[in-house]
């Protein structure tokens, strides 16, 4: 992660504040910062989204390309993730400096989506064992202000929702050779269902308490964090402990309970707004209203 220079006095201030359920910016331990989500920001992708969570800025682009299905799953397409930590976020990411963090985030994304329920991969199949859609999900980290995983998972979910894959038909002629035909109507496309795409909730342990949505300064004070990816139905798809400190097994269960409570609160309050807003914005697209590029 991008490093921030904190003095001992500042660390003590943050830790003591968190014990009293009072963070530096006035939030409680279980409050998120204000999130802004925007879709369809890059026009030559199949789907894109931009998320701003405090000072964290993520841009995700999804490109659909035709490929061959994997041998062990001949009836399904697949997703490929790539995370680029750009030097915009911090000069430490220049050249290959951001590769470590990028690989870590990409591997986490692979693990989250590595189950049958997150995305219905069968819709991505064109003809079994021969052709399928491969979705390349590219995450671009523009600014790093703490809590990367949460913001990236929201951005990936929004981008997958925004993805429209053209409908193709496979025509077989007399000799048996197959031809792929693209539909004439540019708006005739497949949309993915993202109901079961999970979102990540990260809990950082600071002192004896844990906080949700930590800023860079708070992450510098915490020794260990727990990352849980939860779907709207409360199904946990992945869990990871990150950080150089160690966690007590008791505190892990405590954190998991908070995680689920926060995630349920999320899905009850904020994500219905997200899903509802995404549904509303798709109706806008059907009405052919363009929402334009990135508002910065």
């Amino acid at each position: 992660m991008a490093s921030v220079a904190l003095s001992e006095a500042e660390k003590v201030y943050i830790v003591h504040g968190v014990q009293e359920d009072l963070r530096v910016d006035g939030r409680g331990c279980e409050d998120y910062r204000c999130i802004e989500v925007e879709t369809d920001v890059v026009s030559n992708t199949s789907g894109s989204a931009r998320v701003k969570l405090g000072h964290t800025d993520i841009l995700v682009g999804v490109k659909a390309e035709m490929g061959t299905p994997k041998l062990e799953k001949p009836n399904e397409g697949y997703l490929e993730f790539f995370v680029d930590c750009s030097a915009n976020a911090t000069p430490e990411f220049e050249g290959r400096g951001g590769d470590d963090l990028g690989t870590e985030i990409a591997n986490t994304l692979y693990r989250i989506f590595n189950n049958k329920s997150s995305v219905d991969l069968k819709t991505l199949c064109i003809s079994p064992r021969e052709h399928c859609w491969v979705l390349y999900v590219d995450v671009l980290l523009l600014e790093c202000g703490g809590n990367l995983f949460d913001a990236i998972s929201i951005a990936v979910k929004a981008a997958l929702f925004n993805t429209s894959i053209p409908r193709v038909r496979v025509l077989e002629d007399e000799e048996g050779s197959k031809d792929i035909e693209l539909s004439d109507d540019p708006y005739d496309c497949i949309r993915l269902s993202v109901e079961n795409v999970p979102c990540i909730v990260t809990l950082c342990k600071i002192g004896y308490r844990h906080v949700v949505d930590a800023t860079l300064q708070e992450e510098a004070c915490s020794l260990a964090s727990l990352l849980v990816s939860v779907t709207s139905k409360g199904v946990v798809t992945c869990m990871r402990k990150v950080g150089k400190g160690s966690l007590d097994p008791e505190s892990i269960f405590e954190m998991m309970e908070t995680d689920e409570a926060v995630a349920c609160q999320w899905y009850d309050k904020q994500l219905p707004n997200l899903d509802g807003w995404l549904n509303a914005s798709s109706k806008n697209e059907e009405g052919r209203e363009k929402d334009g590029g990135i508002c910065l």
């Binding site: 890059v42 026009s43 030559n44 992708t45 894109s48 000072h55 800025d57 841009l59 682009g61 999804v62 490109k63 390309e65 790539f82 680029d84 750009s86 030097a87 915009n88 976020a89 911090t90 000069p91 220049e94 050249g95 290959r96 390349y136 590219d138 671009l140 523009l142 600014e143 790093c144 202000g145 590029g293 990135i294 910065l296």
Partner: protein, 245 residues
């Protein structure tokens, strides 16, 4: 491209512009709070973001420090989803390294590096969507970002591309026009003095036509300067209103 006329008989280009007309430019400064200076520019469908860190102490080996001036370090990166075909690596390939070197050359000519000896100025440019004229968009965005960071410069650096089709010089090429394979000229200009910071041309062009193409690019760069100047003044006006002056 067979059957695609880059310049019609009435003098209109593929996207309906005239020969010397620029695409629509929108720009904003100060888009990221954590960087020293940042800017975002849209030239038609080309979107570029520039971020500046510095002047700060030299990172890495102290031996690279220059005793009498600042070191300018540029990185050009273009997102994997920025082009029609997905790019495998955002930076590190030959073209990105070359663009980085060109940007560095351009800005070393403009920034007053003598004022900050033994320090380093980092300019990072990110292309979010590429539709032709990426070098020009990057230079324009970087100029605004350097100004936002408060680093003193000799003058604005304004860039534009130009081409030559059917005896007419075209300004500000889009991707379709670049892909058609005609001559392309990239020019970075310091408008007040008319000095050229960078000039690059690909493909064959007869020397009789060079002056016309160069003049078209220079005029387009001066038009870009007018727009960027307006953006900077607007930004300063907004900032001073917030300060209550």
């Amino acid at each position: 491209m067979a059957g695609l006329e880059l310049l019609s008989d009435q003098g209109y280009r593929v996207d309906g512009r005239r020969a010397g007309e620029l695409r629509k430019i929108q720009a904003r400064m100060g888009v990221f709070a954590q960087a020293d200076g940042s800017a975002y520019i849209e030239q038609g469908n080309t979107k570029a973001l520039a971020v500046v860190y510095g002047p700060h102490e030299i990172r890495g080996s102290r031996a690279r420090a220059l005793p009498d001036r600042a070191l300018v370090n540029c990185q050009y990166s273009s997102a994997t989803f920025s082009t029609g075909e997905r790019k495998r690596r955002p930076h590190g390939d030959r073209k990105s390294c070359e663009m980085g070197l060109q940007l560095r050359q351009t800005f070393e000519a403009a920034i007053l590096t003598q004022l900050h000896p033994r320090s380093q100025i980092d300019i990072y440019v990110q292309v979010l969507q590429a539709d032709g004229g990426t070098y020009a968009a990057c230079v324009n965005a970087a100029t605004l970002a350097v100004l936002d960071a408060g680093i003193p410069m000799r003058d604005f650096v304004c860039a534009c591309s130009a081409g030559f089709v059917d005896g007419t010089a075209l300004a500000d090429l889009s991707h379709v026009e670049e892909a058609a394979g005609g001559p392309q000229l990239a020019l970075a200009l310091l408008p007040a003095s008319g000095q050229i910071a960078l000039l690059e041309m690909d493909a064959r062009l007869h020397e009789d036509h060079l002056e016309r193409v160069l003049e078209a690019a220079a005029q387009a760069a001066r038009d870009v300067h007018t727009l960027l100047d307006r953006v900077v003044r607007q930004h300063v006006r907004e900032a001073s209103i917030l300060l209550g002056d």
